[in-house]
Symmetry: C2
Subunit: 356 residues, 2 copies
């Protein structure tokens, strides 16, 4: 890494790399801030500390607000701590107590975790530039990984785009639902089904849990049947968009190497079902490792990262040039007068950049 | 628009421009497909039909799943139709009956609208490449506008990033909540408060509606007090990210020119409160026009569009070159062997592009 403001390591960051490598907790916190704020040299910093590192078990939890994702993460993290694992938690869910959208009670429940030096919790704001969010979030997760946290939990709310982003961030995606969740969750299920490696019906002490489990199992079965009839289980992966991931499949008869999506139950607040859930998470990661799918997923993840970084960097290169800002300002005037459109203005900006 | 595959109008699209301008409904549908699928020449097509056009009243509705956004849109659209306005509806909410995540009952309710030739409904998939989603969604809205639909309703689910994207797409943002919505909505309110021009407590015939209205009003009042004490009402707008919008403020004492965010109630299914809501929407748009803020917002919107299009185009230009794909493939091998990181690989790709 040599030239370009974002590609060169500043003296401050050179020192930070050392402190990060020596395992200083404050260096991780500082590193995350550097990345989140895209401080000069942050990519060089990432390059330095990431080289060769990707060992953590990354678990993504997603689902509708109120399903108890945060409580589940807190409970799982506590279990992992009891085994001596160091744990990282990233919350990109605006309704999560981890990320600040919290009621007092939730916050109190998180306190034990937050004061444990073996746990590193970071909440990510959901605001920010388009496309920038996910890239930076993933980079923060990478940092935690490189720091040596062995188990990473990423919590996102399961609606819209974030549910897809999580497939890029996590090895194992857990979709958390709850009984009595009504029609909005029914409606969401289709999208969630495509990304789930494991389903958990949390708050399973409430009425309707068994019915919900059966419904999900039926839906999975129908989907598997359709998949068998039409497309191959491991359909193609579009590396360009970041939306797709290799289906781990749940097709009956598609071979022993396939992962059958389990539908579990849990009660995060009492701990019921959590041992089984954690075992299942480990079993899924083992499956990924042994089937070769882990290597494939890592490669997809890296490809997406390269494309995202290229996009980010090119954008910066264009707009760092005063000529581009001048063209933009003039273009906005012309758009206002009806003499141009964003398309003609962006063409001008790109032509100027390419000709420079 | 001359050179470059996405900048040149194909013969097919030249014909489409004519049919679009003559008001053929099928041409709008076809145009939207062209844009959504980023068919060759789609930007040239947009350039042709958008020039000089931005007249529709764009209303964004956002809020948690289950608040009744779709029913509200359907009811408002019906009211507008009664006044003779042509209406466009864009649903980017995965739980919306408009966009397919629907129960049978909801679908039936939408049927009257869907068969009205003065109404154009389009649902947008929430999947797709990062950053691409919002740009294309906004372009579809622009198309409906250019087609002459006088009133556009954009429905998104109010969690995470989409709630910010809506501020770029709509002139007036309505945050729809419901009584009894519990803690998850409480938690979301902070983020929603920042983007709301109007609050509506829908399903107001349910218990707790009045309390909810008072809670929101109190929160708005507290926020306004804070804003007065610290930052100016019209704080700076960051054109670079697409996240911020000019605050319309609700600060007491900050001048007559300010918009006080109203908190209304409605029952979409019976029509209660809808006349007042529609009046309020028009009043807000008039406020924007008269205060000069509309011009400012249009300019911000155009700037964001230019930046997004530049990003999209540059990305395409880079990856259209075989050299870039070769560098990526080799880079992925090196990352796999721990010899490189996405940062060094993207640097290589950019250097090759810039040197070409």
């Amino acid at each position: 890494m040599s030239e370009g403001s974002d590609q060169a390591l500043t003296p401050e960051l050179t020192a930070l790399v050392e402190r990060f490598r020596s395992g200083q907790r404050a260096a991780l916190a500082r590193g995350i801030s550097v990345v989140e704020n895209e401080r000069p040299g942050f990519q060089a910093f990432l390059h330095e500390v990431l080289a060769g590192h990707t060992r953590a078990r990354r678990v993504g939890l997603t689902g509708p607000p109120g399903a108890g994702k945060s409580s589940l993460v807190a409970a799982l993290a506590t279990l992992c701590r009891a085994k001596g694992e160091r744990v990282g938690v990233v919350a990109v869910d605006p309704t999560s107590p981890f990320s600040g959208g919290a009621l007092l009670g939730d916050r109190i429940r998180m306190n034990d975790l937050a004061t444990d030096p073996g746990v590193f919790i970071r909440s990510m704001a959901t605001r920010g530039s388009l496309g920038g969010l996910a890239t930076t979030t993933n980079e923060v997760i990478d940092l935690m990984d490189a720091f040596g946290l062995a188990r990473l939990f990423v919590e996102t709310v399961g609606v819209g785009q974030t549910e897809l982003e999580i497939t890029g961030a996590a090895d194992t995606v857990v979709v958390v639902l709850m009984p009595e969740s009504g029609d909005s969750i029914q409606a969401m299920k289709a999208g969630l089904m495509e990304i789930a490696d494991v389903f958990v019906v949390n708050k399973a002490d409430r009425p309707g849990a068994d019915r919900m489990v059966r419904e999900i199992e039926t839906a999975l079965h129908l989907r598997a049947g359709r998949a068998m009839g039409s497309v191959p289980a491991h359909h193609g992966v579009d590396l360009s968009g970041g939306a797709a991931k290799a289906s781990s499949g749940s097709d009956p008869g598609a071979g022993d190497a396939d992962w059958k999506i389990p539908v579990l139950t849990s009660v995060a607040l009492t701990g019921e079902g959590l041992d089984t859930l954690l075992e299942t998470l480990d079993r899924h990661r083992d499956f990924l490792d042994q089937s070769g799918e882990m290597v494939e997923r890592m490669r997809e993840r890296a490809a997406r990262r390269v494309r995202a970084v290229v996009r980010r960097e090119l954008g910066k290169l264009v707009w760092a040039r005063p000529e581009a800002e001048v063209l933009l300002a003039k273009g906005l005037d012309r758009i206002e007068r009806g003499e141009a459109t964003p398309y003609s203005v962006s063409r001008d900006v790109i032509e100027e950049f390419n000709g420079s």
